[in-house]
Symmetry: C2
Subunit: 73 residues, 2 copies
């Protein structure tokens, strides 16, 4: 089990892939915030692995960048 | 955006696939709890879509049943 506070590999992968796809689509954090309903500063922290994001928001962000959630893992 | 309290499709898919794979591997909730470090009653609620589980615990449960997280989405 991962120690409390140590991000899982999945958390880091999700953040990196989300950022890469968002940028590849020329979306700003503000664009993705509008598309997903998730706060832009929270998205920024998710992209850098600082937040243990829950599945419903993961799904909203995947929808916001237009991919299946599994593509971000 | 999904209304607050309405489970996302990803949440429901994760729960259903986790339960199917756990059962296919003849693991009880207690077995998976031991393998993942996640409380068994919490796992039961996740499997039925009642919990908005976070990515680190999703990863632990995928590890616990021996699959990649993306296979549960």
């Amino acid at each position: 089990m991962t120690a409390k506070g140590t991000p899982s590999p999945a958390r880091l992968t999700f953040g990196k892939k989300l950022r890469a796809i968002r940028r590849a689509k020329d979306m700003t954090l503000e664009d993705l915030s509008e598309a997903s309903g998730v706060n832009w500063s929270y998205i920024s922290q998710v992209e850098s692995g600082q937040r243990n994001i829950a599945v419903d928001n993961m799904w909203r962000l995947a929808q916001g960048v237009g991919v299946e959630l599994k593509e971000l893992l």
